[in-house]
């Protein structure tokens, strides 16, 4: 062999090796099966043990190693083993939920509890349509661990069950309670004696004043522009009522082009037209834009209530981050200014083929006990879906403002779930449309057309299971 042959053969080997990275299905469908059916752990149900946990059955918990860390889960696991000392809990944390667990789902040997979250989240539509997740109905009916006389369902905040339900079955426990709104720095606003505007016209006037003061009124995560879809949809819902959201969730024809969505998109176009957005925002990711905001380069940012813990390292002392609802469009709004999007987030699930299914449900019952929820709120500064669990816990400034906003919103709170039903619609399609819109390359009508085109492509795709929810 001479050098030429060696080189050529190396090239040939490379040629075979590279597409191998492409063909991702190394471990394929074969071999999967129902080998675990016989081996499911079952205990005897009793008043003390309503879910029928086998007390010495091992429990495997996989946590998403994201913003909340994993210490909170270790605490929950400790509470579980306190009740079942003979059970051995296997704990792990990863950021790559789908890549790590996909083969185990196929093999029929998934863990007992999965915190399916983050960028590597497994699309719930796929999981639900393949019956891969266990029904949590039994858990809801079980008595709460430490609130006497109430079932688990009774202890949850309104809306918590609906968010995790598919076709009426409660499959996904969304553990945190998250508010989505517009954030500003209380310190900055006090210093400049600005006041958060309650109507859109006032908001635009305030933006003008802020810009005149040399600060950009807005910034957003240009690389994840879907963050800006939240205030636009919220504005539309406050104008037209919750049916705006139901139509979008149910993929109704032209739901994105409803009168309310048009009016809201037209309104929001103002901040683009008048250049009220920090220069270069379209090239920033969420961390970079939120950091610019924390540095006082911009006055407003759209985010959920995880913002405070996400920005912990870069927030100056006394910044006083405060959440507020989107401004009202006018007196014709169906919902008051105080109405804010509140929803359960941070999904947990028990795989249908989990060996210790009862243990998984019991682990959820532990999480949803007042003690478990309080401990979570203390550890990660986030609310849970357990009603009243934040009482008596010393909350940081931003989270406190979230609690106040949610209280003020009360029964007027609203939500949408199309992002849970059809992950691709929000993550890819609406995301791209928002990017074009908020960088000024498309008009409001083109923006809504692009969103609608995305929704239609989902509606027409027969390989995607569709879900409907009642108004």
């Amino acid at each position: 062999m001479n050098r030429r042959d060696i080189l050529r053969r190396t090239a040939a080997a490379g040629l075979l090796a590279t597409p191998a990275a492409g063909l991702l299905t190394g471990c394929a469908t074969g071999g999967g099966g129902d080998k675990n059916d016989a081996a499911t752990y079952k205990g005897t149900k009793s008043a003390q043990n309503p879910l029928g946990v086998k007390e010495d059955a091992p429990l495997e918990v996989v946590i998403f190693g994201g913003g909340f860390g994993e210490e909170y889960a270790k605490a929950h696991e400790a509470m579980y083993t306190e009740k079942y000392p003979k059970a051995k809990v296997k704990h792990s944390a990863t950021q790559e939920i789908s890549k790590t667990l996909q083969p185990r789902f196929v093999d029929g040997t998934p863990p007992d509890v999965v915190n399916n979250s983050g960028a590597g989240q497994i699309d719930f539509n796929g999981l639900v349509s393949q019956n891969a997740i266990a029904d949590l109905g039994e858990l809801l009916a079980a008595p709460s661990l430490d609130v006497p006389g109430k079932t688990v369902r009774d202890t949850l905040l309104p809306g918590a069950v609906e968010v995790g339900s598919y076709d009426g079955k409660f499959l996904v426990l969304n553990y945190t309670y998250t508010a989505y709104g517009i954030w500003h720095s209380g310190k900055l606003f006090t210093e400049r004696s600005w006041e958060y505007a309650k109507t859109w016209d006032q908001h635009i006037a305030l933006c003008k004043e802020i810009k005149a003061a040399g600060i950009a009124p807005w910034t957003y995560a240009g690389l994840h522009p879907r963050y800006m879809s939240w205030p636009v949809i919220a504005t539309a819902i406050k104008l037209g009522g919750p049916s705006v959201a139901t139509a979008i969730d149910n993929l109704e024809p032209n739901a994105w082009k409803s009168e309310s969505m048009r009016t809201a998109a037209d309104a929001w176009h103002q901040i683009v037209k008048d250049k009220y957005i920090l220069d270069g925002s379209s090239g920033l990711d969420h961390k970079q834009s939120q950091t610019a905001w924390c540095q006082g380069k911009a006055a407003f940012v759209s985010c959920g209530s995880w913002l405070e813990s996400e920005q912990k390292d870069v927030t100056p002392a006394g910044f006083n981050m405060t959440i507020a609802p989107t401004p009202s469009l006018g007196s014709g709004d169906k919902l008051p200014f105080e109405a804010i999007r509140g929803t359960a987030g941070e999904p947990f699930m028990v795989p249908a083929k989990a060996r210790n299914l009862a243990g998984g449900l019991e682990y959820f019952r532990t999480m949803l006990s007042k003690k478990g929820a309080q401990d979570f709120t203390k550890k990660v500064a986030s609310l849970t879906v357990v009603a009243g669990a934040s009482e008596g816990v010393d909350l940081p400034y931003g989270l406190n403002s979230v609690v106040k906003a949610l209280d003020a919103s009360g029964a007027n709170g609203f939500n949408w779930v199309y992002n849970n039903y059809y992950r691709k619609l929000e993550r890819n399609l609406v995301d791209a449309a928002c990017g074009e819109f908020f960088s000024g390359r498309t008009s409001p009508a083109e923006f809504l057309d692009q969103c609608q085109k995305g929704a239609d492509s989902i509606a027409q795709d027969s390989s995607i299971k569709k879900y409907k929810r009642a108004a």
């Binding site: 080189l7 597409p19 063909l23 270069g280 379209s282």
Partner: protein, 320 residues
Amino acid sequence: MGKRSAPTGRTPFGKVPLVRQGKWPLIVTFLVPPVLLYVFFVVSPYLQAFQISTTDWLGYSADANQVGLANFRSLWHDDYVWNALKNNAILLGLVPVLTIVLGLFFASMLALGGRKGRAGVTGVRGGALYRTVYFFPQVLSVVIIALLWKEVYHPNQGLLSGAVRAVGLPAPTWLGDPATAFWCVLAVMVWSNVGFYVVLFGAAMSAVPKEIYEAVLLDGASRFTTLRRVTLPLLWDTIQVAWVYLAIFALDGFILVQLMTNGGPNFSTDVIGVRMYDTAFGSETKFGYASAIGVVMFFLTLTVAVLSLRVGRRERIEYS
């Protein structure tokens, strides 16, 4: 001096007879285990992927229905896939050319660029330093390169925006603008590859007998003529291999794109690898469809590689 000869297959192995006794044990010990491993870990997943591409498998259960070629039919009508392929085609057209031209230029400057004040063929001054510096990107992991450049392209605090503003020009938002994002990613692809090919071409040049260059120098050839008439023909094999590698790289480009833009803004930097990953692990769990994309990628890569080996075939030059 070099002499031309027809490709007769005269190899060192051809001259020295193999040890006849114990040939088979040798072959069995050294060849069978690797072949088995290769079949098990490489070939069989391929075959499975072909099979999966004809199903509607959703990846999280063992059930899948045979759907024949339905996935490929939907692929044909999938605008997002075509958009990604178009971007791959542009990468395929530009990344290898730019990388090889730059690599050849730097390598020949390092090997033969210096001419002033000294007799003989030498590189430019400080060649060793340049060679090390050029190789830096190769030492870094692709992930680090992606994150590094993401900061360089930061629209407000980035190195690049700062430099552009320093000369009084308005800075674009780089990765945030569909008009620039793709070219920004392409530039990083070239940047991260050039160093390796400088070293590769440099090594190939050092195998060319110096007398050739001295003769060319005596004949008064310019540097450009030397490159075009002497270096290029003598390095043809190496360039061809570089071409194949870079073509494969251009059809992939997955890691850089996924980390820098994830295909955005508005799919302007999308490549076929990102599309496939997103279909299986990202926003959907359509493993059958993703496998179909993978199969298409496989044939595209294969075609490109075979074509570039075929088209570039030339007579071999041996030094003896």
